[in-house]
């Protein structure tokens, strides 16, 4: 029996060998990056160099990259940091954001009197820029719409949304976690963005927020001078330093044609299995395919697991809760039978063939 076929790369990814080696080495440089002796100064210089390389790769300035513990923190930072400055104001978001956006929004609704408009996706899974425009109010201070959805993979046209916002003063943020390393991203479309390292073969507990230099925001973690006084706490320097390499390696692979090949291969294979419905469409990233099968999600995941295949249903963060997926619900897809397959370059065609074979077998056996 083949085993350890990992098809859940949207949830997290295998740490790249080179990244792991560098990170392990860096863990020995334990000095505090804010210390004034040589050891600390060297760590600081490496960290700032990493920041600069990241900024260069994304075409922005060094002081616009703020290291965080990941995308959830970055999302919380944006939402709470801005809400603290605009209590009772208005935020526009989509109905299918990641839980770190939705839950942070619920919190500021509850505590700061923020009013939130949730835009439903269209039937193709994308957010209509005109819906966003229609929701704008005088007191709207933030629009936050994800670039790539983590359940069915649809890509939103941020430029069109930016254009629809016109000259409105609201800041435009996007959770770009699932876009990074998969498609080209253009930060000139947005004012702020969130990113995570472990989704691009980096280490967990690492990520960053992009924020245009002139934008003022309240810190989420109030403490020392780290991160331009915006995010206190002793820097996670090993993770921050290795993030430049992580990003470089990920961006080098963005255009890899194998992903398209795998995609087409899987789609064709899935179409040939009776009872399988493909929920993803051509508006999405290639490396994620959402399907529905005649078997309920949980038994299906378990059955595949027994065969050494790892996939998930709805977003992993909600995997242990009983609520239906907001994304799938919004797209009128029955989340009880949905399955999310997300592959990457660590997979082989044989992995996919084996998956298709098992899927077929399970459906035939248990239907």
């Amino acid at each position: 029996m083949a085993s350890n076929i990992y098809l859940d790369n949207v949830s997290t990814t295998k740490v790249d060998d080179e990244v792991l080696a560098t990170y392990t080495k860096l863990l020995n440089d334990y000095y505090n990056s804010d210390a004034l002796y040589d050891g600390g100064v060297t760590v600081f210089r490496h960290q700032e160099h990493s920041r600069k390389l990241i900024a260069d790769m994304l075409g922005v300035k060094s002081n616009e990259i703020i290291f965080t513990s990941g995308a959830s923190e970055a999302n919380n930072f944006v939402i709470k940091g801005l809400s603290l400055m605009h209590p009772k104001g208005h935020i526009i978001t989509s109905y299918y954001e990641h839980s770190s956006v939705i839950e942070a929004l619920k919190q500021v609704e509850r505590t700061l009197g923020i009013d939130v408009t949730y835009i439903k996706p269209q039937s193709d899974g994308t957010i209509d820029p005109m819906d966003v425009k229609r929701a704008l109010r005088d007191d709207t201070f933030l629009v936050t719409i994800m670039k790539v959805n983590n359940e069915i993979g649809t890509i939103n046209d941020l430029k069109a949304i930016r254009d629809a916002l016109g000259g409105h003063k609201a800041l435009f943020h996007s959770d770009m976690t699932q876009a990074l390393g998969k498609i080209k991203i253009d930060l000139s479309d947005v004012d702020m963005a969130s990113f995570s390292a472990h989704k691009i073969h980096g280490v967990k507990g690492s990520g960053f927020m992009y924020k245009k230099a002139h934008i003022k925001i309240e810190p989420l973690i109030s403490a020392g001078q780290q991160e331009f006084h915006l995010r206190g706490g002793t820097s996670n320097s090993p993770a921050n330093i290795v993030l430049a390499k992580t990003l470089r390696l990920a961006l080098e692979k963005v255009d890899d044609k194998r992903i398209d090949e795998y995609h087409d291969y899987l789609i064709n294979g899935l179409k040939a299995i009776k009872g399988v419905v493909i929920n993803s469409n051509d508006k999405g990233i290639k490396s994620l395919i959402n399907i529905s099968t005649p078997i309920k999600t949980e038994p299906m995941i378990n059955a595949l697991n027994l065969k050494g295949i790892m996939v998930s249903g709805k977003s992993t963060c909600g995997s242990k809760e009983n609520e239906p997926s907001r994304t799938l619900e919004a797209m009128h897809i029955d989340s009880d039978h949905a399955l999310r397959i997300s592959f990457d370059l660590n997979n082989t065609k044989e992995d996919l063939a084996y998956f298709l074979e098992c899927l077929k077998e399970i459906i035939e056996k248990y239907e």
Partner: protein, 399 residues
């Protein structure tokens, strides 16, 4: 064909008014400097002509190369060029694509025959190409102020079609006029002064005064980072670091605080002189400018600079702070310069420095201790670091 790729970059020379040997030296030096600047691209090849240097791109991205060329002094301007067959139909087709690539409304064709045996004369070539563009696009001819001037150069085996001239850095190729020792603090001014000297064709070596432990490792790192930025203009730069603390302490012991900065700076010039002697340099430059405060008054500059036996150039002498900041931003040193670390002049800064010091009073204070051995010791203990372009001074394999 709807996109066009440049085959060459044609580089034109800067202040090349001289003739004969000087002209040859200028071109040779510029040629070397361009090659050094582009050393990361071994696929490029070069052709040296009497009025231009032609870079054959051989598939390397045109914008990437142009970006590098921006910091080469001695280059007046450059253009992307496309190689055409010696056949007007080919030139016409490519000219049209080139024009359509830009949002230009008006144009003019400017043809030149270097090979006079070509059957059509320049006017005829101009009309042929312009006619083709007019018939196939909405762009109009404007002979006086065209948005784009299309240059056509007829050679004996090919025809070049050339895009707009892009302004380059100008000046003289670095190294053609000898060497200068630039006194380099961590501030905004000295890197700008260094780049201005380079623009005049001087190769620079830097002199930095470090006052450990009163100044930090970071302060020194900052200076080296600034020099690193300057290696975009001069591929390799020597930084001489003077351990200045002992002499500095002696100065404060023996002089009235109001004269301390004046004497300190006189000592710096003496040390610079000694370094010049050892390094065979005959010129000193720094970021001093004329102002109203302390060491910047004409009296101060005169009394301080008076101790030096070398030619002193102060390229910033007559510039406003705003102008200097603009230049620092342009050469890319500003952001690093404003990082807050103490340098050797800000520590022990007296509250009451003289604004009009007298030479005889300086000599009086200086007679109170035997400073010459300290000068020698400073230079004996000098540490020299060579900074090369592309060298991050960091552990590269982490990134």
């Amino acid at each position: 064909m709807n996109d066009i790729k440049y085959d060459y970059i044609l580089c034109r020379f800067g202040e090349l008014t001289t003739k004969g040997k000087n002209r040859k030296d200028f071109i040779d030096r510029l040629f070397q400097n361009i090659k050094k600047r582009l050393k990361d691209y071994p696929l490029l090849s070069y052709e040296k002509q009497h009025d231009a240097i032609i870079i054959h791109l051989n598939g390397i991205d045109h914008d990437t190369v142009c970006d590098k060329l921006k910091t080469v002094y001695g280059l007046s301007n450059y253009s992307g060029a496309i190689r055409c067959a010696r056949d007007l139909d080919d030139v016409k087709a490519k000219a049209l694509v080139l024009i359509k690539k830009h949002p230009y409304k008006t144009f003019k064709v400017n043809a030149r025959r270097q090979d006079k045996s070509y059957p059509l004369n320049s006017d005829m070539i101009n009309r042929e190409i312009a006619g083709h563009i007019l018939r196939n696009s909405d762009v109009k001819v404007d002979v006086h102020h065209p948005d784009i001037m299309l240059y056509v150069i007829v050679k004996n085996d090919r025809i070049y079609l050339m895009d707009e001239k892009i302004q380059a850095a100008g000046g003289y190729p670095v190294g053609i006029n000898g060497k200068t020792l630039v006194m380099m603090s961590g501030g905004i001014d000295s890197p700008v002064a260094a780049s201005m000297m380079m623009k005049r064709g001087m190769k620079v070596e830097c002199l930095h005064f470090a006052s450990m432990p009163y100044t930090s490792k970071q302060a020194l790192d900052k200076v080296l980072d600034l020099v690193k930025i300057l290696t975009d203009f001069q591929d390799e730069i020597k930084v001489h670091i003077i351990p200045f603390t002992d002499l500095q302490v002696k100065i404060y012991e023996h002089t009235d605080t109001s004269y301390a900065i004046t004497i300190l700076r006189r000592m710096m010039y003496r040390i610079a002189d000694e370094v010049c002697r050892r390094r065979h340099i005959k010129m000193i430059a720094n970021g001093e400018s004329l102002g109203q405060v302390a060491s910047q008054t004409p009296e101060s500059l005169s009394v301080i600079g008076g101790v030096s036996e070398n030619l002193i150039i102060r390229p910033l002498a007559c510039l406003d702070k705003i102008e200097i900041i603009d230049m620092a931003k342009k050469i890319g040193t500003y952001e690093t310069s404003i990082l807050p670390f103490e340098d050797c002049c800000t520590i022990f800064a007296p509250k009451d420095p003289v604004t009009k010091p007298h030479a005889d009073k300086c000599e009086y204070y200086e007679s109170k201790f035997d400073w010459a051995p300290y000068i020698k010791e400073c230079v004996d203990k000098m540490e020299t670091i060579v900074i090369k372009n592309g060298d991050t001074r960091l552990e590269e394999d982490l990134f």
